[in-house]
């Protein structure tokens, strides 16, 4: 699960035993075992909650109360993990596993100046629809990236600034951006529900062909970083198949990496 050479500290005990070769628990004390078991459970709960949030989008019209409760649970876990430092460890580890090219460009989740037709924008946030135009001025019809605000709309949660400042990695933007994108996902699940999928009007894919249980079509309403342009099929299914995999988080970020690649190609062309 982790690339070779990454030294795993025993506090990073959320990994399943089968995933790597290293024995996580250096000490046999009961307290450590309890702690690792708690961290495991907490991580599992985090993964489960994120999947639930994603699956919220699959329903015909998501239940706002449910989404809010799950989002609050994720925030709680995030806060606790930030306080005991495991959040940073996790983000750093995931960053390292997601870096294929040393000089891949830093990116944020702002997609406003990319004319990608296949990518669904993540601008289903209420504020944008209420205050701004439906599409950003420079975008052509059929471009579903209607983001008019240039700044990444992930500033509402207290944990993000601390991650940015503390990470000394040259591409520090990436992991925090990835994580902020999860926060953005929470915002999506809330903003999405309000003013709604106006982008569906422009959707190429006729969703009436699909059942609500059809995962690929449901992922259509996701921000692109979740499923990646290439994930209409199996990868999307893989992502939603189980709650307990600690690699789910990583899977999403892997897909995001695919998107980076594609965006890069399109921008350069």
């Amino acid at each position: 699960m982790f690339p070779k050479g990454t030294k795993r500290k025993f506090s990073d005990s959320r990994e399943e035993p089968v995933a790597g070769g290293e024995d996580v628990n250096q000490s046999s004390s009961a307290a450590v075992r309890m702690l690792s078991s708690y961290s495991l459970q907490r991580q599992s709960l985090l993964d489960m909650s994120l999947i639930k949030l994603q699956l919220c989008h699959m329903l015909v019209e998501p239940n706002l109360c449910r989404s809010v409760l799950i989002a609050n649970t994720v925030r709680q876990i995030q806060e606790e993990m930030t306080q005991d430092g495991t959040w940073q460890i996790m983000t750093q580890a995931l960053t390292q596993s997601l870096s294929p090219h040393p000089d891949a460009p830093t990116h944020t989740i702002d997609l406003s100046d990319l004319p990608l037709n296949a990518v669904h924008h993540d601008s289903l946030r209420d504020g944008i629809w209420e205050d701004g135009p439906l599409t950003c001025p420079g975008c052509a019809e059929g471009n579903r990236l209607g983001v008019s605000s240039p700044s990444p709309p992930h500033t509402s949660l207290p944990t993000s600034p601390s991650q940015d400042s503390s990470s000394g990695h040259p591409r520090a933007q990436s992991p925090s951006a990835h994580l902020r994108s999860f926060e953005g996902e929470m915002a999506n699940s809330l903003g999405y529900l309000t003013d709604l999928a106006l982008d569906d009007i422009f959707e190429d894919i006729d969703t009436s062909m699909y059942d609500s249980s059809d995962i690929p079509s449901a992922l259509a309403s996701y921000p692109s970083w979740v499923c990646g342009v290439s994930s209409w099929g199996d990868e999307g299914l893989k992502m939603c198949s189980s709650y307990t995999s600690a690699s789910t988080l990583q899977q999403c970020l892997t897909d995001l990496n695919d998107l980076d690649h594609i965006m890069e190609i399109l921008v350069n062309s």
Binding site: Q41, M48, N63, C65, P153
Partner: protein, 447 residues
């Protein structure tokens, strides 16, 4: 404990009737979504996921069977709401009836409000047992007679006919809610009512459909900051200026409409401090209030959260005066219940006629009654097995650990697909209506 049920230590509950299909294969449209007695208790309305309303009427007590109260039989059935498609959002609007509320009876006809996620409708249910016959100008089938054949004058006369119950929509209150309506409540002034969705509460006049007043709005300017939604709302039974609404964070706000047009500032905030020993990641979810009901007296209100029922004195905001555990044995299972989504189930609760007993549902088709005066509680089951006429319901018990006694059920054997979310209590008598997934059970006390 002595006695088998709530409502005094000598009340025994008997099976009376069950309505609905017998087979286990539940059609989605038949899932009961709301149950409500009218103000006299003579009528019992149910709404289902298919948008239909079925009203049962209690038969007059038969002199032949003094042991029984009148049975409830189908009085009227109508399609209240149809599925709609919101073209702007490309989303379907479910026809499921979320709530039914009866209006107090003013004349021969009955009126009720029924609502789905977006639209509230006022229905008039009226009886017709006479029809005019003997028209001068028309044949019996309605065709007009040839005027040249009309040589005499006669006036139509009302003749008795078979009783026909008609339901007609008198008002449609639409386009006022962006989010899903979870509650409606008729004001004691009988002129206005409120409707509440996740973020807003609107005040309507029953006569006016094209306008409503927004009286509560908790939508944040930035939806990313949304952390709390409205879960239920109700008008005070006597004070027409007072209403309460509950939230997903376990708080209840009481508002006075005289204070200002927009009641964002509550008059009272009811919140119990969290028990630190029980804190977990699920604390907030299980504190979310799924139902709030005023007592008939208006002195108290009851709230239902995932594991408990709480009674609040309106004069004390700091904590409830009574707390009843519905299924505390589920506290150690919260993670599994979160995984299978049962933790989001919204249970309702209700008072009996004199506010001495409260009732709420649970899993495995169990429902619970708590007698406030005698401090007793009982668990009963709505099942076909115990549905012989007038058979007394046996109290059930869930084994929480250790050795399981005979007749007890262990927590792991509970069927979480069989949930009783909707219950109703007759306003005067000890008659209760309990809805399982697709069946309606009527129980009454042993006379």
């Amino acid at each position: 404990m002595a006695g088998a049920g709530g409502g005094g230590n000598d009340v025994q509950w008997c099976f009376s009737q069950v309505k609905g299909a017998i087979d286990d294969d539940v059609a989605e449209a038949d899932i009961i979504s709301t149950v409500e007695f009218n103000h006299s208790g003579e009528l019992l309305a149910t709404g289902d996921k298919g948008g239909r309303v079925v009203i049962f009427q209690q038969e007059l007590e038969s002199k032949n069977q003094p042991q029984c109260r009148g049975e409830y039989n189908v009085y009227s059935t109508f399609q209240s709401h149809e599925p709609e498609f919101d073209y702007l959002k490309s989303l379907e609007i479910e026809e499921k009836i979320n709530k039914i509320r009866w209006l107090p009876q003013k004349n021969a006809a009955q009126f009720l409000l029924s609502t789905n996620d977006k639209t509230i409708k006022l229905w008039k249910i009226s009886e017709r047992d006479k029809r005019p016959e003997g028209y001068n100008l028309k044949e019996e089938d309605g065709r007009y007679r040839d005027p040249t054949t009309v040589t005499t004058l006669r006036v139509p006369v009302f003749q008795p006919m078979d009783l026909m119950v008609e339901a007609s929509p008198r008002r449609v209150f639409a386009n006022a809610h962006t989010y899903h309506i979870n509650s409606i409540s008729v004001n004691s002034d009988c002129e206005t009512y409120l409707s509440a969705d996740d973020l807003r509460i609107n005040l309507w006049n029953l006569e006016i459909t094209d306008r409503s007043f927004n009286i509560v709005d908790i939508k944040p300017a930035n939806m990313e900051e949304l952390t709390e939604v409205i879960t239920a709302a109700e008008f005070h039974p006597n004070q027409c200026n007072t209403f309460v609404y509950s939230s997903s964070k376990g708080t209840i706000r009481l508002c006075d409409m005289r204070a200002s047009a927009l009641c964002d500032q509550h008059s009272k905030l009811f919140e119990e401090p969290e028990d630190p020993s029980n804190r977990s990641f699920f604390s907030e979810i299980i504190s979310s209030i799924s139902d709030v009901k005023f007592s008939h007296s208006g002195r108290y209100m009851m709230t239902r959260d995932y594991l408990s029922v709480k009674i609040w004195d309106l004069n004390m905001e700091s904590r409830p005066v009574e707390t009843y555990q519905v299924h505390e044995y589920l506290r150690s299972k919260l993670c599994s219940l979160y995984e299978n989504d049962c933790i989001f189930d919204k249970f309702e609760c209700c008072w009996n006629g004199n506010d001495s007993v409260v009732m709420t549902g649970s899993y495995n088709n169990f429902f619970r009654m708590f007698d406030r005066g005698y401090r007793q509680d009982v668990t009963l089951e709505a099942s076909r097995e115990s549905s012989k006429p007038r058979s007394v319901l046996k109290p059930r018990k869930v084994c929480t650990g250790g050795k399981r006694k005979k007749d007890e059920i262990s927590v792991d054997s509970l069927d979480f697909n069989k949930k009783i979310l909707h219950t109703a209590w007759h306003p005067q008598d000890n008659i209760i209506a309990v809805a399982t997934t697709n069946n309606l059970y009527i129980f009454q006390d042993k006379l």
